[in-house]
């Protein structure tokens, strides 16, 4: 049994690593289409966003509605740094490009982290609802500020021009970043600090009574989540020719939240799966549903969101939930099936 648990700890790395290797082989042999590469980039960015938001919503038990705002900070500042540096140093040398990318990632991540600190400091000391509204306000502030910048600084309403090097291979970098995100966040959650964070989610007062510094751990979780959102933003700015602040609105934050809730709160594997599914479905449905029907997708998401939350949390449905528990149904089957079902249905804790 111990072997299974140790395998479970690494299953997400293995799967993502394998997918990356397969894609690299495919694109080396020229089978991988450019549109698929773009989809892979999108998926990787969504996974980063979902996993980082999952840290706050699923493990810390706080609601952040400004995830797109942190991403916006990363996209604009990291993208700007990358753009200026490529303008100054040229864009032909591949090693130089990588160095610039790393610098942009560091700048974007740190700036988003600082914003997370500034927002989290007042809000995390208060009750949960205030954090939701403060982060929401933060997202709007960031968007408004970048929208009204001058053309020379951040492009204003036109958007920020960004470098985009090596179209075919960028998804590999995105997936490496996903692995780094997973590595940091999963290890955090499994560490002493992660258990402290989960204790705060389960009962803040009890956690405080056992000597956990609640504000400090909340801040750590919140800042880390902001940093990875910022990193995702930098990657986003690389995948587009132009970053427009219009994209990072309230609805984008909600979309990430939907992904996290669909995947199961406090379940990183679930967040990854639902990020892949939602991004894929988004693109496929965008092709099928046109005109006024395009909004059907949003209606379905909204209904699923409400349904899942009510089903999982309603006190009146407790007996029903215990009777038809997915985990129980799966565990009745043979042990060989357990590993696969565990990766899908097992909660992280």
């Amino acid at each position: 049994m111990k072997k299974f648990t140790s395998l479970k700890n690494y299953i997400s790395y293995i799967v993502i690593g394998l997918v990356t290797v397969i894609c690299v082989i495919l694109s080396l042999s020229g089978v991988l289409k450019a549109s698929t590469a773009i989809l892979l980039e999108e998926i990787a960015i969504k996974i980063m966003l979902a996993v980082s938001l999952s840290l706050v919503v699923g493990f810390l038990g706080e609601l952040s509605l400004g995830h797109a705002g942190f991403m916006c900070v990363g996209a604009y500042l990291g993208g700007k740094v990358a753009y200026v540096l490529t303008q100054q140093l040229g864009e032909d040398d591949p090693i130089l490009n990588i160095v610039i990318l790393v610098i942009a990632l560091v700048v974007g991540g740190i700036c988003a982290g600082i914003c997370g600190f500034l927002i989290g400091l007042p809000a995390l000391r208060l009750r949960g609802d205030y954090l939701a509204i403060t982060t929401l306000a933060f997202g709007e502030i960031v968007r408004t500020i970048f929208l009204n910048t001058s053309e020379e600084s951040f492009g204003g309403p036109i958007g920020l021009p960004t470098p985009r090097f090596n179209k075919e291979w960028f998804y590999v970098i995105c997936f490496i970043m996903v692995l780094i995100t997973l590595f940091v966040i999963q290890n955090l959650i499994r560490s002493k600090h992660g258990r402290a964070i989960k204790a705060i989610r389960d009962n803040e007062i009890a956690a405080r009574a056992t000597g956990i510094n609640v504000t400090r751990y909340k801040l750590i979780g919140f800042i880390l989540s902001a940093v990875f959102a910022g990193l995702a933003g930098v990657l986003y700015s690389y995948t587009k020719f132009n970053v427009s602040s219009q994209i990072f609105d309230y609805n984008y934050s909600i979309e990430i939240l939907v992904i996290v809730v669909l995947g199961g709160m406090g379940n990183i594997g679930g967040s990854i799966i639902s990020a892949v599914l939602v991004t894929f479905l988004n693109r496929e449905l965008a092709n099928i549903l046109t005109g006024n029907l395009a909004v059907l997708k949003d209606i379905i998401y909204a209904v699923i969101l409400i349904g899942i939350v009510i089903y999982r949390n309603a006190p009146g449905l407790k007996n029903f939930r215990e009777k038809y528990n997915l985990k129980k149904l799966f565990s009745k089957k043979k042990k060989t099936a357990e590993v696969t079902s565990d990766t899908v249905a097992k909660e992280e804790n």
Binding site: I119, P122, I141, I254, L257, L296, A302
Partner: protein
């Protein structure tokens, strides 16, 4: 003179915000939840007026004159209020009631889901293109006193919002239902023991809040007669900001916060250098206020007990 005009406009806008903020603050005080869908009720109210007005115009085309036009507009407004009331009750029954007693996070996410759903439904029914909703009959032009030029609409809005606030305060203070609402917000369990039907009180709270939101949408339409599916979200967020500034859960707090925010918004928009950043300024005020006085201007700080 320009200062005075801006001030009156700010008061009137603040009156609208206060009306919406009242809905937020009452629901928060009584159901202890943040009703994110409240902003979208405003939008539904606007679309109801948009649907009912042409219908009434056809119905009354034989006897059309200015008085009939005004009456039909008022009927449309009442229809919007009734429809939003029912919508508020339905939303509460379907989405929020099953979650009573669940974690606040779950309720919050459901509320966001409802908001998302209402927006998407509106977009499917009416399309995402802006709709022109002109309540012409209620447009009385501009009042000029010396150098002061104020639209009659602004004055009507201001007067109506003050009347609504007075009526609501009296209702809460003196009526039996109002007293019951205060009791529920103080202590739900104790109120239940005193024979108050808590579910009914929560339903009434949602109904009143939604009706006020519908009324607010009409005043927004008098200011700028266009309607989009996302129309309600920004006023909703701002009104919530107002409610937090005033101290969430406190009815006079929502009024003060709303009017304060409206005045700030109008003055910020009057200065060309900072007018693009109006929204950012308003939200920054919220964050700074939370730093300095976490419970808002008139709110009470609740200590969580084990």
């Amino acid at each position: 003179m320009e200062f005075l005009t801006t001030f009156v406009n700010g008061l009137s806008l603040g009156g609208i915000y206060a009306m919406i903020a009242l809905g937020y603050t009452m629901v928060y005080g009584i159901a202890k939840m943040l009703n994110f869908a409240h902003g979208d009720i405003i939008m539904v109210g606007g679309y109801t007026v948009h649907t009912v007005l042409p219908f009434l115009a056809i119905l009354l085309s034989g006897v059309y004159n200015p008085t009939v036009a005004i009456i039909s507009s008022i009927i449309a407004i009442i229809a919007a209020m009734v429809f939003c009331m029912m919508l508020g009750i339905v939303v509460e029954k379907v989405a929020y009631k099953p979650l009573r007693g669940a974690s606040p996070l779950a309720v919050l996410i459901t509320a966001i889901g409802v908001s998302y759903l209402l927006q998407s439904l509106a977009q499917m029914i009416f399309g995402s293109a802006p709709k022109h909703v002109n309540i012409k009959a209620l447009d009385f032009g501009i009042l000029k006193i010396g150098g002061l030029a104020i639209g009659y609409n602004t004055i009507i809005t201001l007067v109506c919002s003050i009347l609504v606030m007075i009526a609501l305060s009296l209702f809460v203070k003196f009526s039996k239902t109002g007293r019951a609402m205060v009791a529920v917000s103080e202590d739900k369990g104790a109120a239940q023991l005193m024979g108050i039907n808590v579910n009914r009180i929560i339903m009434i709270t949602f109904a009143i809040g939604s009706a006020l939101a519908a009324l607010a949408s009409v005043f927004f339409l008098l200011k700028a007669p266009t309607m989009t599916p996302t129309f309600g979200s920004l006023p909703g967020i701002k009104a919530f900001t107002a409610a937090v500034i005033g101290g969430i859960g406190s009815i006079p707090g929502a009024m003060i916060g709303g009017i304060l925010l409206g005045v700030i918004e109008c003055f910020a928009q009057a200065v060309p250098a900072i007018s693009p950043y109006t929204d950012a300024i308003e939200f920054s005020i919220l964050i700074i206020l939370l730093l300095v006085k976490p419970s808002g201007l008139l709110g009470k700080m609740r200590r969580e007990k084990v």
